[in-house]
């Protein structure tokens, strides 16, 4: 179709961008910042996000107030308990909302046709995916932010341990980041937004509930029958003291072995949080907040079944076994293993999404569109 008149050779090609491109790490981060800004502009400025924040504040606030009213007569220093409850509620809420916020970050953009618009710029796939992860992370941190008033309130009630705050807050921030990264990563790997969001939820549920269920089922499955020595008791009417007596009889007991399967709990985000925070033991020798109680439960699960003997009782027949503090000291912490598993999952999902977002694309999933 070439018409006969040949156009004159171009003399002045359109000018290249006059602006000098920022190079190096600063330029790289600047570009990342643009993506984060783009994500936040879209997410944070939506009415739905503010409505969600309000709902979360109401729900958490309601639970805290009810708890405070109910516990007032029971305990003196409520600060630690209220703070721990707030943190767990924030964890629960963000694990329920973050997959929805991040689960369609990449494939939703692809469906909307905006992903390719960013891919034909100087932006690299790494910057694109990391920017989206950071954007989702920051947006979800809003749920932590609206709960800050309750944490401040718990601090004013007294009894709040500084180390609990210093460990809990960074861990919650990190866990929210892990969930955001998993959501964004899966949205880059799975083509349909609905499916990737659902898979993100399943993964979060697997960590939060699946580990508990797995632990419970495995504990039941690992039970065995053992014969145990039977203890006898001699009651002295004069002093009112029962004395323990070793007998040569035995009885068959069903013994569960949580110590063989306790490691499943290590990947549970709530366990990580509870295990990481140094426990505070109250006057009665027991942990004084939810963190410590869950932490102690997990530590006790590590213990092999205890064969009861008269040595466990003092001369007055009162239980003189190990105190929670002793249990804590001889069992192993597991939170860093669980955290490492979470961070590895997040890194894997992010890396997969980066690989999938790389252009020019060589392979495409069947039926997928890239623009």
């Amino acid at each position: 179709m070439t018409r006969t008149i040949e156009a004159a050779e171009p003399t002045a090609p359109p000018t290249a961008p006059a602006a000098a491109r920022a190079g190096g790490a600063a330029g790289w981060l600047g570009m990342l910042g643009v993506v984060v800004g783009l994500e936040l502009r879209q997410r944070v400025r939506s009415v739905a996000w503010y409505v969600l924040l309000g709902v979360v504040a109401l729900v958490v606030g309601g639970v805290i107030v009810v708890l405070w009213v109910a516990l007032q007569g029971v305990q003196r220093d409520l600060g630690g308990a209220i703070f721990a409850t707030t943190i767990f509620l924030v964890m629960l809420v963000t694990s329920l909302v973050t997959p929805a916020l991040s689960g369609s970050a990449i494939n939703g953009d692809r469906d909307g046709g905006t992903l390719a618009s960013t891919q034909v710029t100087q932006l690299s796939a790494t910057q694109l995916v990391l920017g989206k992860v950071l954007g989702a992370w920051i947006a979800s941190l809003g749920f932590l932010a609206v709960c800050v008033p309750f944490m401040v309130g718990s601090a004013m009630l007294g009894g709040l341990r500084l180390e609990a705050v210093l460990v809990a807050i960074p861990l919650v921030v990190l866990e929210i980041g892990v969930i955001s990264a998993i959501g964004v990563g899966l949205s880059g790997l799975i083509r349909r937004p609905v499916l990737s969001t659902a898979v993100s939820y399943l993964l979060v549920a697997m960590l939060s509930l699946g580990t508990l269920i797995g632990f419970g089922v495995a504990t039941v499955a690992s039970q065995s029958e053992e014969s145990r020595p039977e203890l006898g008791w001699e009651y002295d009417e004069r002093t009112g003291i029962s004395t323990c007596i070793e007998t040569d009889r035995t009885y068959e007991a069903v013994v569960v072995r949580p110590d063989r399967v306790w490691w499943m709990l290590a990947a549970n985000p709530y366990v990580i949080l509870a295990d990481a925070i140094p426990p505070g033991f109250g006057n009665d020798g027991h942990p004084d907040d939810v963190f410590g109680q869950i932490g102690l439960a997990v530590r006790m699960a590590q213990e092999p079944p205890h064969v009861e003997s008269c040595a466990d009782y003092d001369p007055r027949g009162i239980w003189a076994g190990d105190t929670p503090r002793e249990v804590y000291q001889r069992t192993v912490p597991s939170w860093f293993v669980g955290l490492a598993i979470h961070v590895a999952l997040a890194a894997l999902a992010t890396w997969g999404a980066v690989a999938a977002a790389r252009t020019p694309a060589r392979t495409l999933a069947p039926g997928s569109r890239i623009a």
């Binding site: 002045a12 359109p14 602006a19 909307g112 905006t114 034909v120």
Partner: protein, 360 residues
């Protein structure tokens, strides 16, 4: 009169007695104007060079083998039926999709090995224009500029400039979801121009545009090409392309249509639209000078005459004028590109062949 060439189709009934002797039908000359050019391209040339590019998705060969050169300083149309591989080709040119085979150069850069250089030189306006619906045009343009590596202040200034050019100043700070389809298209073109590219890839840029915007688009693309830019437009609006494109690449079933098929298509009869102040005299004279009746179609005041060659058209016009018919309008009913396209699809047994030669 006897010696003059008249216009008579090969298979038409003999003309009425007393009419001027019909002249022999024109033989298609099998001269390929694109000979050599369509099969061999110089990868070092500027603009867009596509050499034996192929891409398949599983068993579907979207692009089998495409070779062409869109030259700098010119507007090139990419024309073909649905499913011809146009969008796949544009995705490869836009550095989003890697070809299975063959080579592509955009302003001298290879999209596979140097995607950044390609993206610096190339502006892309996709057919399905995704836009950040909650963001304003100003924010969109500034953001895209910054993603191209332009500093904040320069990106904001460029956004202002493009908003004026796209006539979107009044909507600049409203969310882009309030824009109409045509306004979205103008925003899309502005977005493609943010980083002052030297190559423009446009997929259906005129869809949804009002006549004024169309005219503006045409002028802007012409100006862009006049400054040495390369423009490749994929469009179904063939009359629009006829106005705008200087070169055309016809693609069908994943291949560039070239050689004999193209020459034959270009030599096929085309319809000419004739309007005379005296319609009766026109139809009478058309019959008298020996235009076969099945080549003439009268619609109201207009006569449509299917003619094989431009020479025939000149001849018919000369005869009509000489016979004193007051001709007010004499022009091809369809443009070059449209005619070629329709002939190509007709040769395939496809649809869209213009209705012509039918007895009224």
């Amino acid at each position: 009169m006897e010696s003059e060439r008249a216009v008579v189709p090969h298979a038409s009934p003999p003309p009425a007695l007393g009419a001027p002797e019909p002249v022999r039908a024109s033989h298609p000359a099998f001269v390929d104007p694109l000979e050599g050019a369509a099969t061999r391209v110089d990868l070092a040339a500027g603009g867009i060079v596509v050499d034996a590019v192929a891409r398949s998705f599983g068993a579907v060969h979207a692009v089998r083998s495409m070779t062409f050169h869109a030259k700098p300083g010119r507007v090139t149309g990419l024309i073909g039926p649905n499913g011809a591989g146009k969008t796949t080709l544009l995705l490869m040119l836009a550095s989003l999709l890697a070809p299975d085979a063959g080579a592509i150069r955009i302003a001298g850069a290879d999209p596979v090995r140097e995607p950044r250089a390609v993206r610096r030189a190339m502006g892309w306006m996709p057919d399905v224009l995704g836009t950040w619906r909650t963001l304003s045009p100003r924010v969109i343009l500034t953001t895209v500029g910054r993603l191209h590596g332009v500093p904040r202040a320069a990106a904001a200034a460029r956004a202002d400039e493009l908003l004026v050019e796209a006539r979107l100043e009044e909507l600049a700070d409203r969310p882009s979801r309030v824009l109409s389809r045509g306004q979205q298209q103008r925003l899309g073109l502005a977005r493609a121009l943010v980083h002052r590219p030297s190559v423009l890839l446009l997929d259906e840029p005129a869809a949804g545009l009002d006549p004024t915007s169309r005219l503006e688009l045409r002028q802007r693309l012409r100006a862009f090409a006049a400054e040495g830019g390369t423009v490749l437009i994929s469009s179904h609006d063939l009359s629009e392309l006829d106005e705008l494109a200087e070169d055309a690449v016809f693609v069908d079933r994943g291949e560039v249509v070239g050689g004999e098929r193209l020459v034959l298509a270009r030599q096929a009869a085309r319809e000419w639209r004739i309007r005379a102040l005296d319609p009766a005299a026109l139809s009478h004279e058309l019959a008298r000078i020996g235009v076969a009746f099945d080549r003439v179609r009268i619609e109201g005041e207009l006569a449509f005459v299917a003619l094989d060659r431009d020479e025939d058209a000149a001849d018919v016009l000369a005869r009509l004028v000489r016979a004193g018919v007051p001709i007010a309008h004499f022009a091809p009913a369809v443009g070059d590109i449209e005619r070629t396209y329709l002939e190509l699809s007709a040769a395939q047994g496809g649809h869209g062949r213009p209705e012509r030669g039918g007895v009224r």
